[in-house]
Symmetry: C3
Subunit: 401 residues, 3 copies
C-alpha cells in the first residue's frame, strides 16, 4: 500500500479550505490538536507565553517543581518520532517530565508493527488506546493532519480519541518550533518583565533606545537555507499576523535555497513588506540590512536534503556571505537578538562559537525556551491552565508572607 | 556456547510433568511467575477481571489515576524484549505506568553485554539485581521458564530473586495475550455490568436473546494462521477448562497454517468439541459455521515466518476464504464479538477497515483491555490486591457522599 | 572537524597539573563534577558509603522507597552513552529512579544532531539546557573532562551549568566503577555492621581470624586483562591512598595485557608494594600468592579491543593460568572476597558458574552495590545529603516506637 492510497480516505478532508480545517482542530477556543502553524494566533501565543513564564518561574524552586510535576501526573504521552530528531524530541520529553506526564517513544518505524504490514492508521489508533496524547514527527507531509481527522472521526462516534501534536511534518510544518521562536520573540520585545525576571541580559542595553513592544513594527532578517527550512516558513507565517512587519530574506540566489515564491506572495498579501538579498552585507536604500534588522534569524544549510546537483552548486557558492562574524554583529542593533533553530553546522560555521558570548546570542536560551513553551502547550491542551494559575498564585502568596 | 548448552543445567527441571512445574510458579495461591498459559485457571481469571475492572474505573478520574500511580510507585520493572514487539511492549509499559512502576528496557541483545560473551543467565541475574520484576519476550522457547527456575533457585539459597513474566516465548506460549483475550471474553459474556459500565456497545443488542453468562456453553471460531499463532494456541488451551466449549478452526488446508495435531488432540481430551474447516463459508450439519459462532477470533498470516516454499504455497491459496467482509459479518450473531490479536495485515486484509464501525468489532477495545489486564496482573503478582480494593472502595464512598 | 580540533580550546586547561584541575571539580568540599578517580579520597568514600548504606536500608520498605523517590523528584538526568554499555547504564538508571530523578538517554551519536555536523560541545550544551545532570560514557578520553571545563566556564559567565559525571571515558577513567568497588571493599572490611545488616554471608567466617578494619593493611590480587581494564587502573589508583597496601598483578606476560609501566611506577611512588606474576599459581617468598590475598579482583580479557596480532598471541597463551577454579578458591583466605566488574566471559570462563555459590563470590552483590553507590553519589552532588539523613533518622524513630 503506498502512502497515497493509505491516506486516500482523508483526501477530501485534506483539500478543504484552511479555515474550515482550523475550526476542527479547536474546541471552545482551545486547541484540540496542533497541526498547523496557522493555528497560532496572537491571542493564543500571548496566553501560552504567560503560562510558559509561570512554569519557568515555578521551576526555580524544588517546591514549585514538585507542584508542576503533579499537574499532569495522570497523563501518558506517546512520542512517535519516525524522523530522526534529538533536539525536538528531548525538548518534548523534558516538557512532559516537568509536568509529570509519563513518556513513551517509538522512533523507528521498522521495529514497529508496520514491518508486519500494519497500516499507519492502525498504529496510531493503537497508540491512542494506550496513551493520552500523540506527539509525532514524520517525513510524510499530511500524516499528522490525517491523524487529527481520524481522532475527530472517532470522537464523533463516541469512541476514544486523543490530541495530536505535530512535532514536524515533511518540509512544510513545524508549529511548535514557530511557537518557541515566537515565545523567544515575545519575551525579547515584551515590556512587562521586572528586573528580576528580565528575559535576557541585553534588555538593559535597550533602555536608551525605546523599542516598540511586541512583535509588530519590526524588521526580521532571515538568513541561510530558506527554501528547505520549515522553521523559517512556519515562523514567517505566524509573524505575518502582526502589524507593520518587514522581512529580509538572505539566501544564495538559488531555486533550492531561496524563499519559496508562493510563500513570499502569501506573506505580501498579508501585508508583510518582503525583500530578498544574497548576502548579509547587502544594503537597502543605501543602508546595510544588518543595521536595519531588529531580529536576526540564522539557519543551517540542510545538506542532508542535497541532491548531487545541489552539492555541486553549493560547492561553488561563497557561503561566507551567509555567516555572521564579530565584524558583522558589531554593526547590528544593540537590542537585536540572534536566533537559530539549531543544530548549527560546525563545519560551515554560519554562527561561529566566538559569537556565543555576545549578549544578543539567543540561540541557547531559545532552545531552553522550547521546553517551557511546549510545557505550556501541554497544559493548555489538557485544559490545566486554571490549575497552573492557582499553583502559581499560591507560590506568590507564600513568598510574600 | 549454544543455547542448548546454556540451558542444559535446567534440562531436568524442564522435563518434569506440567503440574509439578505449575506448583513452583505459584505461592499461597498467588502467581510467583507467569510463564505458561496453563497457569490461568478460571478462578484466577475471574479475580484478575475484577481487578482490571477496578483499575479501569479508577482511571476515569484524575484522583483515581493518581491513587493508582502510587500503588506500585516503589517498584522498578525491566522489559527485556529481544524479540521485536511494539504492541505488547507498549501495553506493558502503559500498564506499569498506570501503577507508578518505573520502566526500563533492553530491546536489542546485540547492544547488551551478550556481545561481550556474557551468558544470558548472567544478564538475567544482572537485571534482577537492579529491578523488581523481569518482563521478557524472546524467540527462545524455554528461556523464560529457565529464568523462573533460576529465580527459584536463588530464593532457596536466600538470595535476591524477582518475578518473571513471559511476554511471549518462541512459537508456543504467550500467556498475557491469553489473559487479555480472556478478559475481553469475560467482559463480553458477563452479566454483572451496570448500564454505566457496559463493556461494549453491542450488549444492548443481546438483550432480546439470552446468552449464557461466562465463557462456557459457547462456540469459538478461530480463523487464519492457526499453526504458527501462539495467541490461538494459548487462548484455546485456556478456554478448554470451561464447560461445553466448541471450537471451529478455519485455516488453509496446509501443514504449516492449520492447527497442530497434538494440540487438537489435547483439546479433545479436555472435552472440547473441535472441528476443522477451510473456509469461513463452510457449513456444519447444513448450517453456516459463521452463524453458529458466539465469538470470532481472526488472525494474521505470519509471513515473517514463511520459508520460500510457504511463500509459494500461499501465493496459490485463495486467502479470500479467510477474510471477513460486510456480507459475512451480516450473517453473524448479533452478540458475537470479532476479535483479533493485532496487528492486522493491511495488504491481505483479513479484517478490512470497513468492519471497524461494526459494534461487534472488538479488536481495538481488546488491545486496550490488554493494558488493564496486564496492570491487574502486576497488582496481583506484587500482592497489592487488597490495597487496590481499598482505593476502589474509598472511591465509591467518596462518590456516594 | 576532528576531535583534536574540537577540543583544542580546552587543550591548555587539560594540560594543567592534576591538583589544579581537581580543585575545579569541587566546591566547598563537595563534588561539582566527577571526572577522575583521583577525586575519590578516603573521606569522601566513607561519606558516600554511609549514604549508600542509608539508601539501601530505606529501600527495604515501601515507605522508605517512597520517601527516597521524593528526594530528587525535581531533577532530570541525561544519560549520554555513546559507548555501548548495559550494566553501567542500567545501574545509573536504577540509581536515578530510586531517588525519583527522571531519566533521558542518548545512546547513539549517529541518530543525534551530530549527524547534522553539530559539534559535540553544542550537543552537551543542549543537554544542559534541558536536564540537570549529564552522565556520560564515551570512547573519547578527555571528552567528559572538557565538558566539565565548559560547564565551569558557563558558570563563570553566570549562565546555566550542570554537573558532569564520567561513566567511563576512553581506556583511562571509570571513576564510578572505582566508587562501587570501593563501596564493596569498605563494606567487606568494615567493623560497624550489626548482625542484621552484615554485608555478606562470609563475615561470620572471619570471626576467628581478626582482619584489620578498612582497606589498608591488605593484599589485593588483580588478575586478567590489566593493560586495557580501566576498572583495575581506577581502583588501584584509589586504593593507593590507604596505608600498607600490597598489590599483586597477575596477567599474561604481554605488553597489551599486563599492567602499564607508568601506572606501576606511580603506585610504587605512592608507597604501594607492587608485584607482577604470570599465573594464579605463582608464589612469593615460597608462599602461593592466592593464599596471601585478602581480596581477589578478576577481570575479563577484553577481546573486543584485540588487534589481529593480539588474537594470534592470545590463541597461543594458556588462559587457564588466569581462571579461578574450585581447587584454587579452596586455597584462598576464608574472608577474601572474589570480585569482578562484570560482564564475565562465559566462553573463556575466568570465573566459572560453579563458583557462584561460594560465600566469598561477591560479584553479583558488587553489581547491586553499584546502584546504591551511584545513588549516594547523586544525593551528594545534588546536595541532598542532609535531607537523606533526616529521612533516615525518621525511619529509625518510627521503627523504634
Amino acid at each position: 500500500m503506498n502512502p497515497d492510497d493509505e491516506f486516500s480516505e482523508f483526501g477530501e478532508q485534506l483539500r478543504r479550505p484552511l479555515d474550515v480545517k482550523l475550526s476542527e482542530f479547536q474546541r471552545n477556543g482551545r486547541l484540540k490538536h496542533l497541526i498547523l502553524a496557522s493555528q497560532l494566533d496572537s491571542e493564543l501565543l500571548e496566553r501560552l507565553r504567560r503560562m510558559a513564564d509561570m512554569i519557568r518561574h515555578l521551576s526555580r524552586t524544588r517546591q514549585g517543581n514538585l507542584r508542576l510535576k503533579g499537574l499532569l501526573a495522570h497523563r501518558r504521552a506517546m512520542l512517535y518520532f519516525t524522523q530522526p530528531s534529538t533536539r525536538t524530541f528531548l525538548s518534548f520529553m523534558a516538557a512532559c517530565q516537568i509536568l509529570g506526564v509519563t513518556c513513551n517513544e517509538v522512533r523507528d518505524a521498522a521495529t514497529s508493527s508496520e514491518s508486519k504490514r500494519e497500516s499507519r492508521m492502525d498504529s496510531i489508533r493503537m497508540f491512542s488506546s494506550y496513551f493520552d496524547v500523540i506527539i509525532m514527527r514524520t517525513v510524510i507531509p499530511c500524516f499528522s493532519e490525517c491523524c487529527a481527522f481520524l481522532m475527530n472521526r472517532l470522537e464523533s462516534a463516541s469512541m476514544r480519541s486523543v490530541p495530536i501534536i505535530n512535532a514536524g511534518s515533511g518540509a512544510d510544518e513545524h508549529p511548535t518550533q514557530a511557537l518557541l521562536d515566537m515565545y523567544t520573540i515575545l519575551r525579547t520585545f515584551s515590556e512587562d518583565y521586572t528586573q528580576e525576571s528580565k528575559p535576557s541580559r541585553f534588555v538593559a542595553q535597550q533602555s536608551g533606545k525605546p523599542v516598540e513592544a511586541g512583535p509588530g513594527h519590526k524588521t526580521y532578517l532571515f538568513c541561510g537555507d530558506l527554501g528547505r527550512g520549515r522553521t523559517v516558513r512556519s515562523l514567517a507565517s505566524v509573524l505575518s499576523q502582526y502589524e507593520k512587519v518587514r522581512m529580509f530574506f538572505v539566501s544564495p540566489d538559488n531555486d533550492v535555497l531561496r524563499m519559496e515564491r508562493k510563500l513570499l506572495e502569501r506573506l505580501r498579501n498579508s501585508g508583510v513588506e518582503c525583500e530578498e538579498f544574497h548576502s548579509l552585507d547587502a544594503t537597502i536604500d543605501g543602508r546595510p540590512i544588518l543595521e536595519e534588522a531588529d531580529c536576526l534569524y540564522m539557519t543551517r544549510i540542510q545538506r542532508e536534503h542535497n541532491s548531487s546537483v545541489d552539492e555541486q552548486n553549493q560547492s561553488e557558492m561563497n557561503l561566507a556571505d551567509f555567516r555572521i562574524t564579530p565584524e558583522r554583529t558589531s554593526r547590528m542593533r544593540s537590542w537585536a537578538p540572534i536566533m537559530h533553530p539549531f543544530p548549527r553546522d560546525s563545519v560551515t560555521g554560519e554562527i561561529p562559537v566566538s559569537i556565543d558570548a555576545d549578549p544578543r546570542a539567543m540561540y541557547f536560551r531559545q532552545a531552553r525556551n522550547g521546553m517551557w513553551a511546549r510545557a505550556a502547550l501541554l497544559v493548555h491542551m489538557f485544559d490545566a491552565s486554571e490549575e497552573l494559575m492557582e499553583i502559581y498564585s499560591n507560590r506568590q502568596f507564600h513568598q510574600a508572607t
